[in-house]
Amino acid sequence: MSETRYTKSELMAIMTAKEFRDWEVAFVGIGIPLVAGITAKRFHAPNLNIVYESGCIGPQKYRVDFNVGDSSAADGALCLTSEWRVFSDMQCGYYDVGVLGAAQIDKYGNLNTTAIFGEQDYYSPKVRLPGSGGGNDIGSNIGRVVVMVRLEPLRFVEKVDYLTTPGFLDGSPGARKKAGLLGSGPVAVVTDKALFRFDPQTHEMYLDTIYPGVAVEEVKSLVGWDLKVAAGLKTAPEPTAEELAAVRAADPANLIMGGAAARKSLAGLDEYIEITIKNSGK
Protein backbone atom coordinates (compact mmCIF):
# COMPACT_ATOMS: atom_id res chain seq x y z
CA MET A 1 0.00 0.00 0.00
CA SER A 2 1.71 3.09 -1.26
CA GLU A 3 1.04 6.25 0.73
CA THR A 4 2.45 8.32 -2.08
CA ARG A 5 -0.23 7.37 -4.64
CA TYR A 6 -3.23 8.08 -2.40
CA THR A 7 -3.93 9.24 1.14
CA LYS A 8 -5.63 7.31 3.92
CA SER A 9 -8.61 9.64 3.66
CA GLU A 10 -8.95 8.98 -0.05
CA LEU A 11 -8.84 5.24 0.51
CA MET A 12 -11.49 5.47 3.22
CA ALA A 13 -13.73 7.54 0.97
CA ILE A 14 -13.46 4.99 -1.81
CA MET A 15 -14.14 2.02 0.47
CA THR A 16 -17.15 3.81 1.96
CA ALA A 17 -18.51 4.69 -1.47
CA LYS A 18 -18.92 0.97 -2.17
CA GLU A 19 -21.39 0.66 0.71
CA PHE A 20 -23.99 2.85 -1.05
CA ARG A 21 -26.49 1.29 -3.47
CA ASP A 22 -28.23 2.92 -6.38
CA TRP A 23 -31.58 4.66 -5.67
CA GLU A 24 -30.91 4.72 -1.96
CA VAL A 25 -31.48 7.73 0.25
CA ALA A 26 -28.31 8.40 2.26
CA PHE A 27 -28.06 10.53 5.38
CA VAL A 28 -24.52 11.80 5.14
CA GLY A 29 -22.40 14.12 7.22
CA ILE A 30 -20.06 16.63 5.68
CA GLY A 31 -16.41 15.82 5.13
CA ILE A 32 -15.16 12.45 3.97
CA PRO A 33 -18.63 10.81 4.14
CA LEU A 34 -19.91 13.35 1.62
CA VAL A 35 -16.91 12.81 -0.63
CA ALA A 36 -17.76 9.09 -0.47
CA GLY A 37 -21.36 9.80 -1.44
CA ILE A 38 -20.38 11.97 -4.39
CA THR A 39 -17.89 9.31 -5.50
CA ALA A 40 -20.58 6.61 -5.36
CA LYS A 41 -22.81 8.72 -7.61
CA ARG A 42 -20.08 8.72 -10.25
CA PHE A 43 -19.93 4.93 -10.32
CA HIS A 44 -22.50 2.38 -9.24
CA ALA A 45 -25.06 4.66 -7.54
CA PRO A 46 -25.87 7.54 -9.92
CA ASN A 47 -29.35 7.95 -8.41
CA LEU A 48 -28.23 8.07 -4.80
CA ASN A 49 -29.98 10.93 -3.02
CA ILE A 50 -28.23 12.64 -0.13
CA VAL A 51 -29.96 14.21 2.88
CA TYR A 52 -28.34 16.68 5.31
CA GLU A 53 -29.51 17.26 8.86
CA SER A 54 -29.93 21.00 8.33
CA GLY A 55 -32.96 20.15 6.15
CA CYS A 56 -31.59 19.70 2.60
CA ILE A 57 -32.92 16.72 0.64
CA GLY A 58 -31.42 15.59 -2.66
CA PRO A 59 -29.14 18.52 -3.54
CA GLN A 60 -27.56 18.62 -6.96
CA LYS A 61 -23.97 19.26 -6.00
CA TYR A 62 -22.35 22.16 -7.77
CA ARG A 63 -19.64 22.66 -5.17
CA VAL A 64 -18.27 20.99 -2.10
CA ASP A 65 -19.85 21.64 1.32
CA PHE A 66 -17.87 22.42 4.41
CA ASN A 67 -20.69 21.84 6.81
CA VAL A 68 -24.26 20.61 6.70
CA GLY A 69 -25.64 24.12 6.94
CA ASP A 70 -23.33 25.68 4.37
CA SER A 71 -25.61 27.11 1.68
CA SER A 72 -23.88 24.77 -0.77
CA ALA A 73 -25.68 21.90 1.00
CA ALA A 74 -28.89 23.37 -0.46
CA ASP A 75 -27.76 23.86 -4.07
CA GLY A 76 -30.50 22.63 -6.38
CA ALA A 77 -32.10 20.50 -3.68
CA LEU A 78 -35.30 18.56 -4.41
CA CYS A 79 -36.71 19.68 -1.09
CA LEU A 80 -35.57 22.30 1.39
CA THR A 81 -37.11 21.78 4.78
CA SER A 82 -36.36 21.70 8.49
CA GLU A 83 -33.93 19.87 10.74
CA TRP A 84 -36.70 18.40 12.87
CA ARG A 85 -38.46 17.11 9.77
CA VAL A 86 -35.48 15.25 8.32
CA PHE A 87 -34.79 13.66 11.70
CA SER A 88 -38.45 12.62 11.86
CA ASP A 89 -38.29 11.26 8.33
CA MET A 90 -35.26 9.29 9.51
CA GLN A 91 -37.39 7.95 12.36
CA CYS A 92 -40.02 6.91 9.79
CA GLY A 93 -37.43 4.72 8.09
CA TYR A 94 -37.17 6.69 4.85
CA TYR A 95 -33.37 6.76 4.92
CA ASP A 96 -31.62 3.59 3.83
CA VAL A 97 -28.06 4.24 4.86
CA GLY A 98 -26.16 6.58 7.13
CA VAL A 99 -22.47 7.29 7.58
CA LEU A 100 -20.90 8.17 10.91
CA GLY A 101 -17.50 8.97 12.38
CA ALA A 102 -16.34 8.34 15.95
CA ALA A 103 -13.47 8.90 18.35
CA GLN A 104 -13.98 5.48 19.97
CA ILE A 105 -15.77 2.33 18.85
CA ASP A 106 -16.30 -0.89 20.80
CA LYS A 107 -16.62 -4.49 19.70
CA TYR A 108 -20.42 -4.22 19.38
CA GLY A 109 -20.17 -1.13 17.21
CA ASN A 110 -21.17 1.37 19.91
CA LEU A 111 -19.65 4.79 19.30
CA ASN A 112 -18.30 7.59 21.47
CA THR A 113 -18.23 11.14 20.11
CA THR A 114 -18.83 12.89 23.45
CA ALA A 115 -15.76 12.66 25.68
CA ILE A 116 -12.54 10.74 26.29
CA PHE A 117 -12.48 10.42 30.06
CA GLY A 118 -8.76 9.62 30.52
CA GLU A 119 -8.04 9.55 34.26
CA GLN A 120 -11.20 11.49 34.98
CA ASP A 121 -14.89 11.40 34.07
CA TYR A 122 -17.69 12.83 31.98
CA TYR A 123 -17.72 16.04 33.99
CA SER A 124 -13.97 16.71 33.69
CA PRO A 125 -12.85 14.70 30.69
CA LYS A 126 -9.38 14.52 29.22
CA VAL A 127 -10.82 15.50 25.83
CA ARG A 128 -14.23 16.98 25.33
CA LEU A 129 -15.47 15.91 21.89
CA PRO A 130 -18.31 17.55 19.92
CA GLY A 131 -21.14 15.39 21.32
CA SER A 132 -23.78 13.40 19.50
CA GLY A 133 -24.97 15.87 16.91
CA GLY A 134 -27.08 13.74 14.62
CA GLY A 135 -24.87 10.70 15.26
CA ASN A 136 -27.02 9.10 17.93
CA ASP A 137 -30.11 9.58 15.77
CA ILE A 138 -28.48 7.96 12.75
CA GLY A 139 -27.32 5.03 14.85
CA SER A 140 -30.75 4.71 16.46
CA ASN A 141 -33.01 4.94 13.44
CA ILE A 142 -31.37 4.31 10.09
CA GLY A 143 -31.57 0.91 8.43
CA ARG A 144 -27.89 0.41 7.61
CA VAL A 145 -25.12 2.35 9.30
CA VAL A 146 -21.56 2.63 8.03
CA VAL A 147 -18.91 3.86 10.47
CA MET A 148 -15.74 5.61 9.29
CA VAL A 149 -12.90 5.70 11.79
CA ARG A 150 -9.13 5.49 11.52
CA LEU A 151 -7.55 2.35 12.92
CA GLU A 152 -5.35 4.11 15.45
CA PRO A 153 -4.32 3.21 19.03
CA LEU A 154 -7.05 3.60 21.69
CA ARG A 155 -9.86 4.03 19.16
CA PHE A 156 -11.02 0.38 19.01
CA VAL A 157 -11.78 -0.38 22.66
CA GLU A 158 -13.48 -3.10 24.67
CA LYS A 159 -15.90 -0.52 26.08
CA VAL A 160 -16.35 3.10 25.06
CA ASP A 161 -15.93 5.75 27.79
CA TYR A 162 -19.32 7.21 26.89
CA LEU A 163 -21.86 5.46 24.68
CA THR A 164 -23.10 8.25 22.42
CA THR A 165 -24.44 6.22 19.51
CA PRO A 166 -25.91 2.74 19.79
CA GLY A 167 -24.39 -0.11 17.85
CA PHE A 168 -25.55 -3.50 19.16
CA LEU A 169 -25.40 -2.24 22.79
CA ASP A 170 -24.30 -5.24 24.94
CA GLY A 171 -24.49 -7.53 21.90
CA SER A 172 -27.22 -9.73 23.41
CA PRO A 173 -29.95 -11.00 21.07
CA GLY A 174 -32.62 -8.38 20.45
CA ALA A 175 -30.83 -5.78 22.60
CA ARG A 176 -31.63 -2.99 20.15
CA LYS A 177 -35.29 -3.92 19.86
CA LYS A 178 -35.63 -4.24 23.63
CA ALA A 179 -34.24 -0.74 24.06
CA GLY A 180 -36.81 0.55 21.54
CA LEU A 181 -34.38 1.24 18.67
CA LEU A 182 -35.61 1.01 15.10
CA GLY A 183 -32.63 0.74 12.74
CA SER A 184 -30.84 -2.57 12.32
CA GLY A 185 -27.44 -1.31 13.48
CA PRO A 186 -24.00 -0.93 11.93
CA VAL A 187 -23.12 -3.01 8.87
CA ALA A 188 -19.54 -1.93 8.22
CA VAL A 189 -16.65 -0.14 9.87
CA VAL A 190 -14.39 1.42 7.27
CA THR A 191 -10.87 2.30 8.41
CA ASP A 192 -7.61 3.20 6.72
CA LYS A 193 -6.23 -0.35 7.11
CA ALA A 194 -9.17 -2.75 6.95
CA LEU A 195 -12.93 -3.10 6.79
CA PHE A 196 -14.87 -4.75 9.63
CA ARG A 197 -18.34 -6.25 9.72
CA PHE A 198 -20.55 -7.73 12.46
CA ASP A 199 -21.44 -11.34 13.16
CA PRO A 200 -25.21 -11.72 12.66
CA GLN A 201 -25.49 -13.96 15.76
CA THR A 202 -23.06 -12.54 18.32
CA HIS A 203 -23.05 -8.97 16.89
CA GLU A 204 -19.31 -8.91 17.50
CA MET A 205 -17.15 -6.93 15.09
CA TYR A 206 -14.81 -9.06 12.96
CA LEU A 207 -12.18 -8.41 10.34
CA ASP A 208 -13.84 -8.87 6.95
CA THR A 209 -11.52 -7.24 4.42
CA ILE A 210 -7.92 -6.22 4.73
CA TYR A 211 -6.31 -3.55 2.56
CA PRO A 212 -3.36 -4.35 0.27
CA GLY A 213 -0.06 -4.39 2.14
CA VAL A 214 -1.56 -4.50 5.65
CA ALA A 215 -0.84 -7.48 7.93
CA VAL A 216 -3.61 -9.11 10.00
CA GLU A 217 -1.35 -8.92 13.07
CA GLU A 218 -1.03 -5.16 12.65
CA VAL A 219 -4.81 -4.84 12.62
CA LYS A 220 -5.19 -7.09 15.66
CA SER A 221 -2.58 -5.12 17.57
CA LEU A 222 -4.62 -1.95 17.12
CA VAL A 223 -7.88 -3.47 18.37
CA GLY A 224 -8.56 -3.55 22.11
CA TRP A 225 -10.15 -7.01 22.23
CA ASP A 226 -9.42 -10.43 20.83
CA LEU A 227 -10.51 -9.68 17.25
CA LYS A 228 -12.01 -12.53 15.22
CA VAL A 229 -11.03 -12.83 11.58
CA ALA A 230 -13.44 -13.96 8.84
CA ALA A 231 -12.83 -17.47 7.57
CA GLY A 232 -12.86 -16.12 4.03
CA LEU A 233 -10.85 -12.97 4.75
CA LYS A 234 -10.95 -10.74 1.70
CA THR A 235 -8.35 -8.33 0.41
CA ALA A 236 -9.57 -4.98 -0.90
CA PRO A 237 -8.57 -4.01 -4.42
CA GLU A 238 -6.27 -1.04 -4.84
CA PRO A 239 -8.21 2.13 -5.67
CA THR A 240 -8.38 2.65 -9.40
CA ALA A 241 -7.19 5.80 -11.13
CA GLU A 242 -10.85 6.59 -11.95
CA GLU A 243 -11.88 6.27 -8.31
CA LEU A 244 -9.06 8.51 -7.16
CA ALA A 245 -9.94 11.06 -9.83
CA ALA A 246 -13.57 11.04 -8.68
CA VAL A 247 -12.61 11.55 -5.06
CA ARG A 248 -10.35 14.44 -5.97
CA ALA A 249 -12.94 16.05 -8.23
CA ALA A 250 -15.39 16.04 -5.31
CA ASP A 251 -13.00 18.21 -3.31
CA PRO A 252 -11.21 20.32 -5.91
CA ALA A 253 -9.52 22.78 -3.55
CA ASN A 254 -8.52 19.83 -1.34
CA LEU A 255 -9.93 21.63 1.69
CA ILE A 256 -11.78 18.62 3.07
CA MET A 257 -9.26 15.88 2.43
CA GLY A 258 -6.28 18.20 2.89
CA GLY A 259 -7.46 20.21 5.91
CA ALA A 260 -5.53 23.15 7.33
CA ALA A 261 -2.42 22.50 5.27
CA ALA A 262 -4.36 22.75 2.01
CA ARG A 263 -6.06 25.90 3.27
CA LYS A 264 -2.73 27.54 3.83
CA SER A 265 -1.48 26.62 0.37
CA LEU A 266 -4.31 28.58 -1.24
CA ALA A 267 -3.31 32.08 -2.34
CA GLY A 268 -6.55 33.44 -0.86
CA LEU A 269 -10.28 33.86 -1.34
CA ASP A 270 -9.95 34.64 -5.02
CA GLU A 271 -8.17 31.39 -5.77
CA TYR A 272 -10.70 29.44 -3.71
CA ILE A 273 -13.64 31.02 -5.54
CA GLU A 274 -11.97 30.43 -8.89
CA ILE A 275 -11.34 26.74 -8.18
CA THR A 276 -14.87 26.25 -6.89
CA ILE A 277 -16.57 27.86 -9.85
CA LYS A 278 -14.29 26.16 -12.38
CA ASN A 279 -15.20 22.76 -10.94
CA SER A 280 -18.88 23.37 -10.33
CA GLY A 281 -20.12 22.53 -13.81
CA LYS A 282 -22.33 25.58 -13.51
Binding site: N67, Y122, P125, G133, N136, Y162
Partner: protein, 306 residues
Protein backbone atom coordinates in the same frame (compact mmCIF):
# COMPACT_ATOMS: atom_id res chain seq x y z
CA UNK B 1 -44.67 35.35 22.49
CA UNK B 2 -45.34 38.99 21.81
CA UNK B 3 -47.39 41.16 24.08
CA UNK B 4 -48.80 43.18 21.23
CA UNK B 5 -48.54 43.43 17.50
CA UNK B 6 -47.81 46.99 16.54
CA UNK B 7 -47.10 48.11 13.03
CA UNK B 8 -43.35 48.46 13.38
CA UNK B 9 -41.05 46.36 15.51
CA UNK B 10 -37.93 47.62 13.77
CA UNK B 11 -35.01 48.64 16.02
CA UNK B 12 -31.21 48.61 16.02
CA UNK B 13 -29.23 45.54 17.00
CA UNK B 14 -27.97 47.34 20.11
CA UNK B 15 -31.53 48.16 21.16
CA UNK B 16 -32.87 44.69 20.52
CA UNK B 17 -30.10 42.92 22.46
CA UNK B 18 -30.34 45.42 25.30
CA UNK B 19 -34.11 45.04 25.53
CA UNK B 20 -34.43 41.25 25.30
CA UNK B 21 -31.12 39.60 26.25
CA UNK B 22 -30.31 39.90 29.96
CA UNK B 23 -27.46 38.34 31.90
CA UNK B 24 -28.67 35.02 33.30
CA UNK B 25 -31.32 34.43 30.66
CA UNK B 26 -31.73 31.38 28.44
CA UNK B 27 -31.30 31.81 24.71
CA UNK B 28 -31.34 29.96 21.41
CA UNK B 29 -30.03 30.97 18.00
CA UNK B 30 -31.44 30.25 14.54
CA UNK B 31 -29.60 28.80 11.58
CA UNK B 32 -27.66 25.59 11.40
CA UNK B 33 -24.01 26.30 10.61
CA UNK B 34 -25.33 28.64 7.96
CA UNK B 35 -27.72 31.55 8.58
CA UNK B 36 -26.07 31.81 12.02
CA UNK B 37 -26.63 34.93 14.15
CA UNK B 38 -22.99 35.98 14.23
CA UNK B 39 -23.59 39.75 14.38
CA UNK B 40 -26.02 39.25 17.28
CA UNK B 41 -23.47 37.12 19.16
CA UNK B 42 -20.86 39.87 18.70
CA UNK B 43 -23.28 42.42 20.14
CA UNK B 44 -24.02 40.16 23.14
CA UNK B 45 -20.27 40.03 23.78
CA UNK B 46 -19.92 43.81 23.37
CA UNK B 47 -22.71 44.45 25.87
CA UNK B 48 -20.92 42.24 28.43
CA UNK B 49 -23.86 39.91 28.97
CA UNK B 50 -23.00 36.99 31.26
CA UNK B 51 -24.32 33.66 32.61
CA UNK B 52 -26.29 32.71 29.53
CA UNK B 53 -27.92 29.29 29.27
CA UNK B 54 -27.74 28.40 25.59
CA UNK B 55 -30.28 25.79 24.46
CA UNK B 56 -29.50 24.75 20.92
CA UNK B 57 -28.85 22.03 18.36
CA UNK B 58 -25.44 22.42 16.68
CA UNK B 59 -24.21 25.94 17.19
CA UNK B 60 -20.45 25.72 17.27
CA UNK B 61 -19.38 29.00 15.72
CA UNK B 62 -21.53 31.22 17.87
CA UNK B 63 -20.89 29.11 20.99
CA UNK B 64 -17.12 28.97 20.61
CA UNK B 65 -17.09 32.77 20.53
CA UNK B 66 -19.53 33.25 23.41
CA UNK B 67 -17.79 30.67 25.59
CA UNK B 68 -14.36 32.11 24.82
CA UNK B 69 -15.67 35.58 25.71
CA UNK B 70 -17.00 34.24 29.03
CA UNK B 71 -20.70 34.88 28.36
CA UNK B 72 -22.00 31.33 28.89
CA UNK B 73 -22.86 29.48 32.08
CA UNK B 74 -24.64 26.43 30.68
CA UNK B 75 -25.17 24.58 27.40
CA UNK B 76 -28.06 22.25 26.58
CA UNK B 77 -27.46 20.92 23.12
CA UNK B 78 -26.25 18.35 20.67
CA UNK B 79 -23.00 19.30 18.97
CA UNK B 80 -20.08 21.65 19.47
CA UNK B 81 -17.42 20.92 16.88
CA UNK B 82 -16.12 22.10 13.53
CA UNK B 83 -16.90 19.00 11.45
CA UNK B 84 -14.17 18.74 8.85
CA UNK B 85 -12.10 21.48 10.50
CA UNK B 86 -11.79 19.91 13.97
CA UNK B 87 -12.82 20.33 17.60
CA UNK B 88 -13.97 23.64 19.09
CA UNK B 89 -10.99 25.23 20.88
CA UNK B 90 -12.80 27.51 23.33
CA UNK B 91 -15.28 24.78 24.24
CA UNK B 92 -12.43 22.39 24.99
CA UNK B 93 -10.56 24.95 27.10
CA UNK B 94 -13.70 25.65 29.08
CA UNK B 95 -14.74 22.04 29.71
CA UNK B 96 -11.27 20.55 30.16
CA UNK B 97 -9.50 23.42 31.94
CA UNK B 98 -12.15 25.86 33.13
CA UNK B 99 -10.73 28.71 31.01
CA UNK B 100 -12.11 31.37 31.14
CA UNK B 101 -14.77 29.52 33.16
CA UNK B 102 -16.20 26.05 33.19
CA UNK B 103 -19.56 25.71 31.49
CA UNK B 104 -22.16 23.13 32.54
CA UNK B 105 -23.05 20.73 29.75
CA UNK B 106 -26.29 18.83 29.20
CA UNK B 107 -25.99 16.49 26.21
CA UNK B 108 -28.81 15.77 23.77
CA UNK B 109 -28.90 14.37 20.26
CA UNK B 110 -29.90 16.65 17.40
CA UNK B 111 -33.23 14.85 17.01
CA UNK B 112 -33.76 14.94 20.78
CA UNK B 113 -33.15 18.67 21.08
CA UNK B 114 -35.18 19.27 17.90
CA UNK B 115 -38.14 17.57 19.57
CA UNK B 116 -37.67 19.83 22.60
CA UNK B 117 -38.11 22.86 20.33
CA UNK B 118 -41.05 21.25 18.56
CA UNK B 119 -42.75 20.62 21.93
CA UNK B 120 -42.05 24.22 22.94
CA UNK B 121 -43.54 25.49 19.70
CA UNK B 122 -46.70 23.42 20.26
CA UNK B 123 -46.95 24.51 23.89
CA UNK B 124 -47.14 20.89 25.04
CA UNK B 125 -44.99 19.73 27.97
CA UNK B 126 -43.08 16.96 26.17
CA UNK B 127 -42.52 15.02 22.97
CA UNK B 128 -41.83 11.34 22.37
CA UNK B 129 -38.74 10.27 20.43
CA UNK B 130 -37.00 7.03 19.53
CA UNK B 131 -33.54 8.59 19.77
CA UNK B 132 -31.09 8.32 22.68
CA UNK B 133 -32.56 5.01 23.93
CA UNK B 134 -30.03 2.58 25.35
CA UNK B 135 -27.17 5.12 25.56
CA UNK B 136 -25.20 7.17 28.07
CA UNK B 137 -26.97 10.32 26.94
CA UNK B 138 -29.88 9.12 29.06
CA UNK B 139 -27.57 7.96 31.84
CA UNK B 140 -26.18 11.46 32.37
CA UNK B 141 -29.27 13.46 31.40
CA UNK B 142 -32.14 12.77 33.78
CA UNK B 143 -34.55 14.93 31.85
CA UNK B 144 -34.85 12.24 29.19
CA UNK B 145 -37.52 9.91 30.59
CA UNK B 146 -37.97 6.42 29.15
CA UNK B 147 -41.59 5.26 29.45
CA UNK B 148 -43.71 2.50 28.01
CA UNK B 149 -46.04 3.98 25.41
CA UNK B 150 -49.58 3.78 26.91
CA UNK B 151 -51.00 2.65 23.53
CA UNK B 152 -48.68 -0.14 22.41
CA UNK B 153 -46.48 -0.68 25.46
CA UNK B 154 -43.17 -0.25 23.65
CA UNK B 155 -40.35 1.79 25.23
CA UNK B 156 -40.07 5.35 24.02
CA UNK B 157 -38.14 8.39 25.30
CA UNK B 158 -39.78 11.63 26.42
CA UNK B 159 -38.04 14.99 26.23
CA UNK B 160 -39.33 18.17 27.92
CA UNK B 161 -40.34 21.25 25.95
CA UNK B 162 -37.63 23.89 25.50
CA UNK B 163 -38.79 27.33 26.56
CA UNK B 164 -35.86 29.74 26.15
CA UNK B 165 -36.31 33.35 27.21
CA UNK B 166 -35.08 34.60 23.85
CA UNK B 167 -34.62 33.32 20.32
CA UNK B 168 -32.55 35.21 17.78
CA UNK B 169 -33.14 34.13 14.19
CA UNK B 170 -31.39 35.50 11.11
CA UNK B 171 -33.43 35.36 7.89
CA UNK B 172 -33.14 36.62 4.36
CA UNK B 173 -36.14 38.96 4.39
CA UNK B 174 -38.63 40.38 6.87
CA UNK B 175 -41.08 43.24 7.03
CA UNK B 176 -41.31 45.65 9.96
CA UNK B 177 -44.34 43.75 11.34
CA UNK B 178 -42.04 40.76 11.81
CA UNK B 179 -43.08 38.41 9.02
CA UNK B 180 -39.85 36.52 8.34
CA UNK B 181 -39.18 34.69 5.08
CA UNK B 182 -36.53 32.03 4.68
CA UNK B 183 -35.06 30.31 1.63
CA UNK B 184 -32.87 27.23 1.82
CA UNK B 185 -32.91 24.82 4.78
CA UNK B 186 -34.84 26.03 7.80
CA UNK B 187 -33.18 24.17 10.70
CA UNK B 188 -35.36 24.36 13.81
CA UNK B 189 -36.07 28.04 13.31
CA UNK B 190 -39.86 28.06 13.06
CA UNK B 191 -40.01 26.10 16.31
CA UNK B 192 -37.40 28.17 18.15
CA UNK B 193 -39.28 31.37 17.31
CA UNK B 194 -42.45 29.92 18.82
CA UNK B 195 -40.85 28.17 21.81
CA UNK B 196 -39.12 31.34 23.01
CA UNK B 197 -40.76 33.97 25.19
CA UNK B 198 -39.27 36.71 22.99
CA UNK B 199 -38.03 36.49 19.41
CA UNK B 200 -35.62 38.83 17.65
CA UNK B 201 -35.46 38.59 13.86
CA UNK B 202 -32.28 39.84 12.23
CA UNK B 203 -32.39 39.98 8.45
CA UNK B 204 -30.42 40.79 5.34
CA UNK B 205 -33.19 42.97 3.93
CA UNK B 206 -36.31 44.64 5.21
CA UNK B 207 -39.01 44.48 2.54
CA UNK B 208 -42.52 45.86 2.34
CA UNK B 209 -45.48 43.91 3.67
CA UNK B 210 -46.81 43.76 0.10
CA UNK B 211 -43.60 41.98 -0.92
CA UNK B 212 -44.18 39.45 1.88
CA UNK B 213 -47.74 38.83 0.65
CA UNK B 214 -46.45 37.88 -2.82
CA UNK B 215 -44.91 34.64 -1.47
CA UNK B 216 -46.82 33.83 1.71
CA UNK B 217 -45.68 30.21 1.55
CA UNK B 218 -42.13 31.35 2.33
CA UNK B 219 -43.07 33.12 5.57
CA UNK B 220 -41.53 30.71 8.08
CA UNK B 221 -42.23 32.89 11.11
CA UNK B 222 -45.38 35.06 11.18
CA UNK B 223 -45.46 38.48 12.82
CA UNK B 224 -47.21 37.34 15.97
CA UNK B 225 -44.16 35.33 17.08
CA UNK B 226 -41.83 38.31 16.75
CA UNK B 227 -40.83 41.12 19.13
CA UNK B 228 -38.06 42.89 17.25
CA UNK B 229 -36.90 43.21 13.64
CA UNK B 230 -33.34 44.30 12.92
CA UNK B 231 -31.69 44.76 9.55
CA UNK B 232 -28.12 43.39 9.67
CA UNK B 233 -26.65 42.82 6.21
CA UNK B 234 -23.88 40.19 6.25
CA UNK B 235 -25.08 39.31 9.76
CA UNK B 236 -23.94 35.67 9.36
CA UNK B 237 -20.40 36.20 8.12
CA UNK B 238 -18.25 34.06 8.10
CA UNK B 239 -21.18 31.64 7.84
CA UNK B 240 -23.26 31.53 4.69
CA UNK B 241 -26.66 33.04 4.07
CA UNK B 242 -28.42 31.08 1.32
CA UNK B 243 -29.01 33.22 -1.75
CA UNK B 244 -27.02 36.15 -0.31
CA UNK B 245 -23.42 35.13 0.37
CA UNK B 246 -21.26 32.01 0.53
CA UNK B 247 -19.44 30.46 3.49
CA UNK B 248 -16.06 32.09 4.10
CA UNK B 249 -14.11 28.89 4.64
CA UNK B 250 -10.72 30.61 4.79
CA UNK B 251 -11.79 33.17 7.39
CA UNK B 252 -13.22 30.33 9.50
CA UNK B 253 -10.00 28.39 9.16
CA UNK B 254 -8.01 31.40 10.36
CA UNK B 255 -10.37 31.85 13.31
CA UNK B 256 -9.98 28.19 14.22
CA UNK B 257 -6.19 28.45 14.12
CA UNK B 258 -6.22 31.58 16.27
CA UNK B 259 -8.70 30.15 18.75
CA UNK B 260 -6.41 27.22 19.59
CA UNK B 261 -4.33 29.63 21.65
CA UNK B 262 -6.05 31.66 24.37
CA UNK B 263 -3.98 34.81 23.81
CA UNK B 264 -4.41 34.70 20.07
CA UNK B 265 -8.14 34.20 20.55
CA UNK B 266 -8.34 37.26 22.82
CA UNK B 267 -6.51 39.31 20.21
CA UNK B 268 -8.93 38.08 17.55
CA UNK B 269 -11.88 38.93 19.82
CA UNK B 270 -10.55 42.39 20.55
CA UNK B 271 -9.86 43.16 16.91
CA UNK B 272 -13.07 41.91 15.34
CA UNK B 273 -15.57 42.37 18.19
CA UNK B 274 -14.63 44.46 21.21
CA UNK B 275 -12.85 47.22 19.39
CA UNK B 276 -15.40 47.22 16.55
CA UNK B 277 -18.13 49.64 17.52
CA UNK B 278 -20.83 47.72 15.66
CA UNK B 279 -21.42 45.26 12.84
CA UNK B 280 -20.59 47.89 10.25
CA UNK B 281 -17.13 48.27 11.78
CA UNK B 282 -16.74 44.47 11.76
CA UNK B 283 -17.64 44.37 8.08
CA UNK B 284 -15.10 47.08 7.33
CA UNK B 285 -12.41 45.02 9.08
CA UNK B 286 -13.36 41.89 7.18
CA UNK B 287 -13.35 44.02 4.04
CA UNK B 288 -16.32 45.05 1.92
CA UNK B 289 -14.58 43.72 -1.18
CA UNK B 290 -14.30 40.30 0.46
CA UNK B 291 -18.00 40.35 1.41
CA UNK B 292 -18.92 41.37 -2.14
CA UNK B 293 -16.93 38.44 -3.51
CA UNK B 294 -18.73 36.02 -1.22
CA UNK B 295 -22.02 37.53 -2.35
CA UNK B 296 -21.05 37.17 -5.99
CA UNK B 297 -20.11 33.54 -5.45
CA UNK B 298 -23.37 32.65 -3.70
CA UNK B 299 -25.56 34.34 -6.29
CA UNK B 300 -23.89 32.27 -8.95
CA UNK B 301 -25.35 29.16 -7.30
CA UNK B 302 -28.50 30.32 -5.53
CA UNK B 303 -30.43 33.38 -6.54
CA UNK B 304 -33.65 34.24 -4.73
CA UNK B 305 -36.42 35.16 -7.17
CA UNK B 306 -38.17 38.54 -6.95
Amino acid sequence: MTESNYASKQMTLQEAIKKYVQSGCSITFGGFIGRDCVAAAHEIIRQGIRDLTVIDDSKTDVMDLLVGAGCVKRWEGAYLGYGAIGLAPNIRRSVEKGVPLKIELEDWSNAGISMRFLAGSLNVPFMATRSMLGTDIIKYNERVKVINDPYEGEPVALVPAARPDVAIIHVQRADVMGNAQVWGFTGNDENKARAARHTIITCEEIVSTDEIRRQGNLTLIPFYCVDAVVQVPFGCHPQSCYGYYAYDVLFCGDYHEAAKDRDKFLKWLDHYVLSSEDHLAYCAKVGWDRLQKLMGMERRFNRIPG
